[in-house]
């Protein structure tokens, strides 16, 4: 945001839009009388002087810039003077602020409001794309909301529309109870997005986070296209007219103005996704954080993005009893322990942060949460900055907001102490644009101190009596002293200028209760507590009804040292354990080291290569690559040696069909073709199944889109580098691919009624042909346009781009298929377009058409023995793999299941059992063959010199149920080691115990859910893939339960 942006934000058309009624209401409500306004004056002019001088306060001009005692002058909603030596203008209403601390008004950048305006008739086809929705035009101030914010010192809020994926633009609004004409101070502050739909859907695109990102990406391309097409239409003749699309037009204007984009994040994965989107399209992105940024602090810092940081620290995990504690993950416990340090850790890392009360159950707990963050390491100045300067700068409001400087808005917070360090400190007043809102009741005067007076003495003369008043100004305690005796005051109360109290008189020779009533008399400008001449003028009402008048004089007492209220153990509290990767269970402190030289000796090596199986062999690894394999290979000097005597070494297992490690929903099930959707956008590197599968020897996995549509999304091949970031897990050199599907799932056979095309295998065949034809047409249109530059430019269509890549052999097809008829039809369609299918997935009737598959060159990636879970797999047989293999098809066995993937070696063994495939060939079903199918066999799949050192060490034959995976290596780094795992369990158990102790000791109430925001749990299985197992069925039941 540039410095002049505020000018741009002045809404020239705003008043025109508001009816006269609003303005009348506004005048009644507002104390402003001086700013030029357009509405006629009703009744008499209100020209009350609007000048205030706050005198004697500690002024926090800006973070780190403090005037210990100074004056601030406010006039017409602006700060006109501020500093230690400021003369007070004659017209000013002077308020004594001795003992007060004044900050610039706080800015909360995380607001949201529902926009109920009807949808624009020309808003584009997809209702979740709403860049044209403007909060300013729809802003509905609510006095209860404003009041809560003011109670926390918040004077300005950024409020965004809440609905949609591209939600629209936010406005900056004050927390004064003005009509929008005055409370909207900047009409368009940012464009807001979330990278997921509101809920999973089978009908409305997008129905998954993957789809949401794809839609955002396409929309950004569409905006560029729309601008160009509109331009061509305006300037050219004889060109067709593009559609009217307010969404795209608005988006263009917003992008051109360099308005920031605020992207909401559910966790740090979403943070990095937002950042990636920003880099892809060069967008000025601010991330609305999740509170988990500390888990990947380096990546967050490296992004250079500013973060709006929530303060909804997690509540105590449910460890109420041992049974419940069983289910609480170390991740949950550690998150509870560390999360309050998130703001401090971000600040320390140099990340620009703005704090928000968003996601707090009570917005009036903002300051308490800020203090918690300060207690847990956020420097107070950084906290102040994150509530003032930074949010003001992020949204281009720094000319008017964020510090106490001349010319800035008279929005400030008056407190009775340091709001960031003193838990007892309270906001006294919040000034919003020159208007004072009392947060604490205002006392007529501070009566604390000693009051001396005399009363008539029995039998003539007078005797001295005094009152000693202390405690808090609002809640005075104290005593009355008469002679050497004293009585404690009770029922003390201030009612305007009238003070009253009572005490038990027995000790003081008044038998019974004595009441005190007095008026507080002050001279003008003498309201200060040390003012000379402050008097109490009143009487004692003695037990028998006699009134004893008195006039008391005031003396200020030396303030007693206040005890520090911060509990020591809270202040010293720091998280018990360092962040590991991923956080908690089985996470690593750092990536496993890669020895320069590594040798496995005396191993039975299943090379899956031409060397076959070697007994007593040595495998040498250099810098993560296999250097030598053989029986007579020397161990190089300095090599780390793994003695594998009696053990078996195999290539890392490759799973050609999986859905783990993704949180994008697996299926974008809403349309029959969703080629634009990318699984790679939603890799979840925290998935514990990655680690569990490493423990079963899996090193590489093909993460596929689901099977709900004929042409699904793009797959992502991963290497299971546990602890790494999602991007770092991607198999960089793996060719691109895409999921296709046939049969029952795409015609929605097992999912109630559907009328989506296709409803039959006939339709599936037609849809495929049609899609390929459309892609050809698309490619031709672009070619023509590039050659002749005539007419409207074609739209850049990510779906078509992916299909063109398929046509050109640059994107591999992995097609879910079962029955021989559909397999044959599919292959024939592809052959028509000269497309070779990379793999037929499941392919349970492959044995019926293995000759056709072999001739076509399609790989077969199958289950070893699943069958009969739905009708199209009633003819599935476990001999399928062997028969396809015999026919010359490259065959792999896959899991399609988080559990089955843990023992793919045993699935391979079933090719030996059912069909007599030789053991070494069978092992290739889960090593070399899937590598070939995925086009990565140059790098992985066998133990051959030059390939990646992805290796698994077994304590017996990998084809035996009695064997166990002992170690799993990727790129020459050990990612799983059974001995290390056992050690880590003990360490985890110790951590759990310590943290559970801490939870119980904290006395915090048990939190039953993380927060009350919507938390859809996106599917992590291909839920459309029939009921493959009892587990799958259970999963479905839970899904339905969830709906």
């Amino acid at each position: 945001m540039t410095a002049c942006s505020f000018r741009r934000h002045v809404p020239p058309n705003l008043l025109r839009r508001l009816g006269p009624l609003c303005c009348l209401a506004l005048l009644a409500a507002s104390g402003h009388g001086v700013e030029p306004r357009t509405a006629p004056v009703a009744g008499l002019h209100d020209n009350t002087p609007q000048t205030h001088a706050l005198v004697g306060a500690k002024l926090v001009l800006a973070p780190g810039k403090v005037v210990e005692k100074g004056t601030i002058v406010l006039r017409d909603g602006l700060i006109t003077a501020v500093g230690p030596d400021v003369s007070v203008p004659a017209s000013a209403v002077v308020s004594d602020m001795t003992g007060r601390t004044i900050y610039a008004g706080f800015v909360d950048a995380g607001g949201e409001q529902e926009v109920t305006a009807p949808r624009s008739a020309v808003g584009g086809w997809n209702d979740s794309i709403r860049p044209h929705v403007r909060l300013d035009e729809n802003y509905k101030p609510a006095s209860d909301v404003n009041k809560r914010y003011r109670s926390q010192g918040v004077t300005l809020r950024i409020v965004a529309p809440s609905a949609g994926i591209i939600k629209g633009t936010s406005a900056a609004v004050t927390t004064a109870d003005d009509a929008p004409t005055y409370s909207v101070v900047a009409p368009q502050t940012a464009l807001h997005l979330q990278l997921e739909p509101a809920a999973e859907s089978e009908e409305n695109y997008p129905g998954s986070p993957m789809g949401a990102v794809a839609l955002v990406r396409q929309t950004l391309h569409d905006a560029v296209w729309y601008a160009r097409a509109s331009e061509v239409f305006r300037s050219g003749t004889n060109v067709p007219r593009p559609e009217a699309n307010e969404a795209l037009a608005s988006l263009n204007a917003i992008l051109a103005s360099k308005l920031p984009l605020v992207v909401q994040s559910r966790d740090w994965h979403y943070f990095l996704r937002a950042d990636a989107l920003g880099r892809e399209f060069d967008l000025p992105i601010i991330v609305h954080g999740s509170g988990t940024e500390y888990q990947r602090l380096d990546a967050v810092r490296a992004s250079g993005r500013a973060v709006i940081v929530p303060l909804n620290f997690p509540g105590a995990p449910n460890v109420a009893n041992a049974e419940a504690a069983l289910t609480v993950s170390l991740e949950t416990l550690m998150h509870w322990d560390i999360a309050p340090e998130n703001p401090g850790r971000l600040a320390a890392a140099g990340v620009r942060i703005a704090l928000t009360s968003r996601r707090l159950k009570l917005s009036d707990s903002l300051l308490a949460q800020v203090r918690k963050a300060v207690e847990r390491g956020l420097p107070p100045d950084d906290a102040l900055k994150a509530l003032t300067v930074t949010p003001a700068e992020l949204f281009g409001l720094e000319k008017r907001y964020g510090t106490l400087e001349v010319g800035k808005a008279a929005s400030l917070v008056v407190a009775d102490g340091d709001l960031f360090t003193n838990p007892k400190a309270k906001v006294i007043d919040t000034w919003v644009e020159g208007k004072r809102f009392a947060i604490q009741p205002h006392l007529f005067a501070d009566l604390r101190g000693r009051w001396d007076f005399t009363i008539p003495k029995a039998g003539g003369g007078t005797e001295p009596v005094s009152l000693e008043l202390e405690g808090e100004a609002e809640k005075i305690t104290g005593k009355l002293l008469r002679g050497k005796k004293e009585a404690t005051l009770k029922n003390t109360a201030m009612d305007g200028a009238q003070w009253s109290a009572a005490f038990k008189g027995d000790e003081l020779d008044w038998k019974g209760e004595v009441q005190i009533s007095a008026a507080v008399l002050t001279a003008r400008d003498d309201t200060r507590e040390d003012a000379p001449g402050m008097k109490l003028d009143g009487f004692l009402l003695l037990p028998h009804g006699e009134r004893v008048p008195f006039q008391a004089k005031h003396t200020v007492l030396e303030a007693k040292k206040k005890p520090t209220h911060v509990q020591a153990d809270d202040k010293d509290r720091a998280a018990l354990y360092a962040v590991n990767f991923p956080l908690g269970d089985f996470g690593l402190a750092a990536p496993p080291m890669q020895p320069k030289l590594l040798a496995f000796t005396n191993a039975t090596v299943w090379t899956s290569g031409p060397a076959g199986k070697l007994e007593g062999a040595t495998v040498v690894v250099a810098a993560g690559k296999i250097q030598a394999v053989g029986r007579n290979v020397a161990v190089p000097k300095g090599a780390t040696v793994v003695d594998a005597k009696g053990k078996h070494l195999t290539p890392g297992i490759i799973d050609c069909h999986s859905h783990i490690a993704t949180d994008g929903g697996v299926n974008e099930a809403t349309q029959s073709i969703t080629a634009e959707v990318r699984v790679g956008d939603f890799v979840d590197s925290n998935d514990i199944n990655i680690y569990r599968q490493l423990a079963g020897g899996v090193t590489t996995s093909n993460i596929l889109h689901g099977s709900a549509n004929t042409i699904g999304g793009q797959n992502q091949v991963l290497k299971f580098r546990w602890g790494a970031l999602p991007e770092e897990m991607k198999f960089a050199t793996a060719p691109a691919g895409i999921k296709f599907a046939l049969g029952e799932n795409v015609k929605r056979s097992n999912w109630g009624s559907s009328s989506r095309y296709p409803q039959s295998r006939m339709g599936v065949e037609q849809l495929l042909r049609d899609a390929f034809r459309a892609a050809e047409d698309y490619r031709r249109r672009w070619k023509e346009y590039r050659s002749f530059k005539r007419g409207l430019p074609p739209r850049f269509d990510l779906e078509q781009e992916a299909l063109v890549e398929v046509l050109e052999g640059k994107r591999l097809i992995h097609c879910h298929s079962y029955r021989q008829d559909e397999i044959l039809a599919f292959l024939r369609v592809c052959e028509e377009f000269h497309v070779r299918v990379a793999t037929l997935q499941h392919i349970l009737e492959g044995y019926k058409v293995a000759d056709v598959m072999a001739k076509h060159g399609a790989g077969g990636s199958s289950f070893s023995d699943w069958w009969a879970y739905k009708f199209e797999v009633y003819d599935a047989i476990p001999y399928n793999g062997a028969i396809m293999h015999e026919a010359g098809v490259v065959v792999s066995f896959n899991s399609d299941d988080a559990e089955l993937a843990r023992r793919l070696n045993l699935e391979a063994a079933k090719a030996v059992k059912y069909g007599g495939v030789p053991p070494e060939e069978a092992l290739k079903f889960v090593t070399l063959n899937p590598a070939k199918q995925l086009g990565i066999d140059k790098h992985v799949g066998s133990i051959e010199p030059g390939k990646d050192a992805d290796l698994v060490l077994w304590n017996g034959s990998p084809l035996s149920t009695f064997a166990r995976c002992e170690q799993t290596w990727i790129d020459g780094r050990k990612y799983f080691d059974r001995a290390e795992d056992v050690r880590r369990r003990e360490e985890m158990a110790a951590r759990r115990t310590a943290l559970i102790q801490r939870v119980i000791a904290s006395g915090e109430p048990i939190e039953k859910s993380d927060d009350d925001e919507k938390k859809p749990s996106w599917a992590r299985d291909d839920i459309y893939c029939g009921c493959r197992s009892p587990h799958a069925r259970l999963g479905q039941a839970q899904q339905q339960d969830g709906k």
Binding site: E323, T332, Y847, D865, R985
Partner: protein, 444 residues
Amino acid sequence: MKQLAQLLAWLVAAASTTASLAHDVVPGAPQKEPIALVGGTIHPVVGAVVENGTVLFEAGKLTAIGRDIALPKNVRKIDVRGKHVYPGMIDVDTEIGLVEIQAVRATVDDAEVGEVNPSARAVTAFNPDSELIPVTRSNGVLTAMTCPRGGLLCGLGSVMRLDGWTWEDMTVRGDAAMIVEWPALIQTQTARLEQLRIREEKRAKALEQMTGLFESARAYQKLKRARADQGAPPPDYDARWEAMLPVLEGRTPLHVRADDMRQIQSAVALARKEGVRLVIVGGYNAPECAELLRSENVAVVVKGTNRLPRYRNDPYDAPFTVPARLYKAGVKFCISASDRMANVRNLPYHAGAAAAYGLPAEEALKSVTLYPAQIAGIDKELGSLEKGKSATLIVTTGDPLDIDCEVTAAYIDGREVDLTDRHKQLRDKYQQKYQQINAARQQD
């Protein structure tokens, strides 16, 4: 070459078998003459392994196991040298015969309407012609308890021998166990508050209902007894509580499906209170309450070792080690496949995984033979190779708990089982396709 030989072997087999879609495998005829399996390695499960031994059975019963056995004159000697003989394996928690294809409703008969169906009897809906039956026994699983599911009291599970013409032929125990699904534990860590509240209410209601069910059944039992004592006519018939009488009398055990610690503890408490016999089915967290289970003498059917850890913080091998941990803690257990239908045949591999992760190999074998027989109360007839027990056994090429093992012959009550199944038939059918193609190619 080996593959070629295999292929030829199939072709020979194919010539003698007609492939077709219906389950047309003919049940074995009753044993006519004594049969002696000679020269194999005998694994009686109870007692030591016998090398180069003989198994003799007559009229469906085992009559002798060992070496140097005198064979009757009319004996049929079958040479099993180089092979192994084991008792048939048993899975006590399946839905075989009740469900053919999960996704095709017309073929699913495993659950009744409502929460309370103690009178539903699996045996009456057991389809002897299910294609799943031959596939299952092909891998050595010869006996299965087939169980209803759904609701709280699901109905009666039945132990079936996996060969025969009708369900009556195939019944070992018609009413073997009352199947109960214990209300599921709520996982508080992920659920949304509102959902959580609803589910908690549901669970509380279910738990209350569960206790109430037993009280109702008990009241019916008392009333019935009182009437009988008074010589009065019995109370109006209630099929549900009538079905619960054998449970209350301790004759039929409760098989309670429960994985979580709190489920297991509650089930044990209820069983103790009602004085009924209890078996826990599932048992993921059973090792965490081993002392309770041991002291209350409650057995556990470990519902598969090949399953995922239930909680993020659990060790990756937690499901694999459940049997080993129960064994060490002295809790009675057996292993059941995690799949209840099409892949019950993989039962032995669940035991194999348990062995790979700490269960002694001989215990692993018992956990799919003798132990399930004991838990299902059929160990007088089944579960081991002992004189007088049923001749329900398999002949194999190796250890059935490992995958490279092939079952070459099977006997159920002495009847020779045809080991053909749908999978072999389809294999043979399509081998002919490739044979025809090759033949045509050679002609060209």
